[in-house]
Amino acid sequence: MTNSINEIPNTKAMFVIGSNATEAHPVIGTKMKQALAKGSKLIVVDPRCTNLAEHSDVWLRLRSGTDIALINGIMNIILANGWEDRAFIEARTEGFEETRKTIEKYPPELVSQITGVPVEQLIEAAKLYATAECAEIFYTLGITEHVCGTDNVKSLANLAMLTGNLGKESSGVNPMRGQNNVQGACDMGALPNVYPGYQQVANPEVQAKFEAAWGVPLSPKNGFTIPDMFAAATSKNLRALYCMGEDPVITDADANHVRKGLQSLDFLVVQEIFLSETAKLADVVLPGASYAEKTGTFSNTERRVQMVNQAIKPIGNARTDGEIICDIATRMGYPFEYQSSAEVMQEIARLTPIFGGITHARLGTQGLQWPVPTIEHPGTKFLHEGKFSRGLGQFVAIDNQLPAELPDKEYPFLLNTGRKLSHYNVFTQHSPSLEIHSPEELAEVNPVDAKRLGLEVNEVVKVTSRRGEVKTKIKITERVPVGMIFMTFHYFDSPTNELTNGAYDKTTKTYEYKVCGVQITKIA
């Protein structure tokens, strides 16, 4: 997030797109409701009627995958009414004129045809967002999990720059990160193209710095991303995989393709706290420790690095993931001799400018928001004040793009996927209380479709895509539009990613989990 979570209650308008915050990021959802209670306006853009949509001033029920057209349309309306922030555009940005030409191709009537959103609602949304004293954009995977995910995000950046809603309190472009430490895993360089702190592996100076620190020659070549790995495994270019705390068979799109890749490996090591579907395919399984059993840090979605403090010893014969990695490194002839995770953080701080002033002692009970360049620096509440990281903010002209696979005659329903409040990803079914509370998938189907297919509440149906099939119970609800089925990915018995499409965004290689074509069939 460019801005901080506790700035939310003071904002004047919220533009929430592709985000079901009250379920997927519940405490941010409560902060949004606190803002509403203080008079903030709320615009929700989502094909599903989420809980926030029910509380919104205007709910834009767009067709899945038409976000770029919608955002361009809103910018078109803002420009037509003179609601843009001229001073901000001139002083802080570049590339506006070219982008304006693209925006002009998206008049409200055309955008309404593409998105299915009435013109009046587009105007209302544009007005509420652009004329507020400060306004925050929030997005989640409804924006990024599309083949045009990166362009969706850039469109939102255009919208924020157009209205000067960056670099100040209670504004900004605020992605809500999914997992507890997905921000931190990125910050730490668990990515094939960057070292910790987003320092490029292809940059010779950076390479030299890490070679000097680690005392070995390093590769300047970007590595495989996850989708590359499964393809490389299938073609035998990849021989071994060390998989820590992930279950790609369940969480990656097109599970059968993933399984095939993993089965082609010569050697698969899985380090996990449960015997996951991926672990079941492994040659060696190592028992890791849960969050309660180790000390370290997580970085949250607002860049706050916070302590994770060990409360109990690892269960049974389990060991912390850090300890296991150090042991393997040492056995391979490169001793990793750290006395504690605090000592690892000292090395991180030495090599990572944005973490330069972070120590476990400084984090204490309140944490610090990066960038924290020096030991005296208090951390950074919001980004881009006065200046963007790259200098001027770059407007990018972007045209609407279609999803990779839309419903057709054979697979007439659009499958949308996401989370529900009572579960988190794929392992909370191991919590007895959450399992009792919410034991099974309840795919959402619109009453019109249910009637047409003769489906009853709680009926178990078969859902099929070009890639696989699953069985699931259904719930009949107007939360989903006609022609859509919504499923979560939390349940072992209804592994939704057997169905999803492996097509991905060209820049991030994020799969298009939010749109694919499926068929719903009665079983009985």
């Binding site: 507890n180 430490n181 997905v182 990515l191 193209n193 970085s299 993931d321 509370h437």
Partner: protein, 352 residues
């Protein structure tokens, strides 16, 4: 910012304009008992336990809703004030179950704490007792309306923190109680089970069901940590007794969330002790995963990685690091792949 000076129990103190008398006292370590007050919630002046005497005022005003004025003279502990508080406590205890020995809240109950301080035994007013059904309808929250003192904090937490407004008062007088609309059990209401109501309850009316019978506050060590269930980064306290996590409680100092949590953060910690946890390394032998010693498993991995690197080059090995693991562990994993294996083939589920 304008500062005001007032005198509390003969001591001169300065506070910001707009502060309440209660805030002035708390900031200066002057103890005032409260049951219905919480710094995260709007003040209601409901319980009246925080009454003080203020020169020039006719009655004893509740300090939580009385704003400081310049030159104000406050007395917090004189006999008149203490008697008034004692009477309030006597009335509350008159229909409060006194099964404290088996109450989950024992040792952490505000009513018991103040009854002890003010010598309230429950003998003065022998009134009628409530006998309402206990709500055990869900796996998370145990609700005993008989123990409720009607302070209203849970109602405010539900509306002001969580924005749900599931709870409210119903009925009048002696029959007054708090609950979801039409008095349905929690699981039949629209409750999210965030448990904010539990986190503010001053007595044993709302408790964490999983913690019942598992330990008393004085036996528990609280360890502040960061929630593992989404990117918001809520902090809470793991409650540990005899080396075992028995529950989660809010930590009011949590920088992101204060007392607020969601159903997963507050109640999903039982996942730690799932019988499905892996507790020993496994090695595939004759097609089957069988338990193994750590040394055998780690030696096998080191030798296989070494062999594959030698035969096919470092880029034939890849790692999936984890958005569930710590920063330090992710750092170690990427360093292992880059410096030990010699490849940049490291990624994690940020993109998937």
């Amino acid at each position: 910012m304008e500062w005001l000076t007032l005198t509390i129990d003969g001591r001169e103190v300065s506070v910001l304009k707009g502060s309440t008398v209660l805030e002035a006292c708390r900031r200066n370590d002057i103890p005032i008992p409260t049951l219905c007050h919480d710094p995260e919630l709007t003040a209601g002046g409901a319980c009246r336990l925080c009454v003080v005497q203020i020169e020039g005022m006719r009655n004893l005003p509740p300090s939580c809703v009385t704003q400081v004025t310049q030159g104000m003279k406050v007395e917090t502990q004189n006999p008149k004030v203490r008697n008034a508080r004692k009477t309030i406590l006597e009335l509350l205890v008159a229909n409060h179950p006194l099964d404290c020995m088996t109450c989950q809240k024992m040792g952490n109950c505000s009513l018991a704490e103040f009854a002890y301080e003010y010598g309230v035994t429950g003998e003065i007013y022998q009134g009628e007792r409530r006998n309402l059904p206990i709500d055990e309808s869900n796996p998370f929250i145990l609700r005993d309306p008989n123990k409720c003192i009607l302070c209203g904090k849970c109602i405010k937490a539900c509306s002001e923190i969580q924005g749900k407004s599931i709870l409210d008062f119903s009925y009048r007088g002696f029959d007054a109680q708090v609950g979801p609309a039409f008095n349905v059990p929690y699981n039949e209401s629209d409750c999210d089970f965030c448990g904010s109501c539990v986190s503010v309850c001053p007595v044993g009316a709302l408790v964490e069901k999983q913690m019942v019978g598992k330990g008393h506050p004085w036996e528990i060590t609280k360890v502040q940590t960061t929630c593992p269930f989404c990117g918001v980064g809520c902090n809470f306290d793991l409650n540990v007794k005899d080396g075992k996590v028995i529950g989660v409680t809010s930590n009011p100092e949590a920088p992101v969330n204060g007392k607020a949590l969601c159903v997963k953060g507050r109640f999903g910690m039982d996942m730690i002790y799932s019988p499905h946890r892996l507790t020993t390394p496994l090695i595939r032998k004759d097609g089957v995963l069988v338990p193994a010693e750590w040394d055998e498993a780690l030696d096998l991995i080191a030798s296989k990685f070494g062999e594959i690197k030698k035969n096919y080059g470092p880029d034939s090995i890849a790692a999936l690091s984890s958005a569930h693991c710590t920063n330090e562990e992710n750092y170690l994993m990427q360093k292992f792949m880059r410096a030990v294996i010699g490849t940049n083939n490291v990624d994690h589920c940020a993109r998937t």
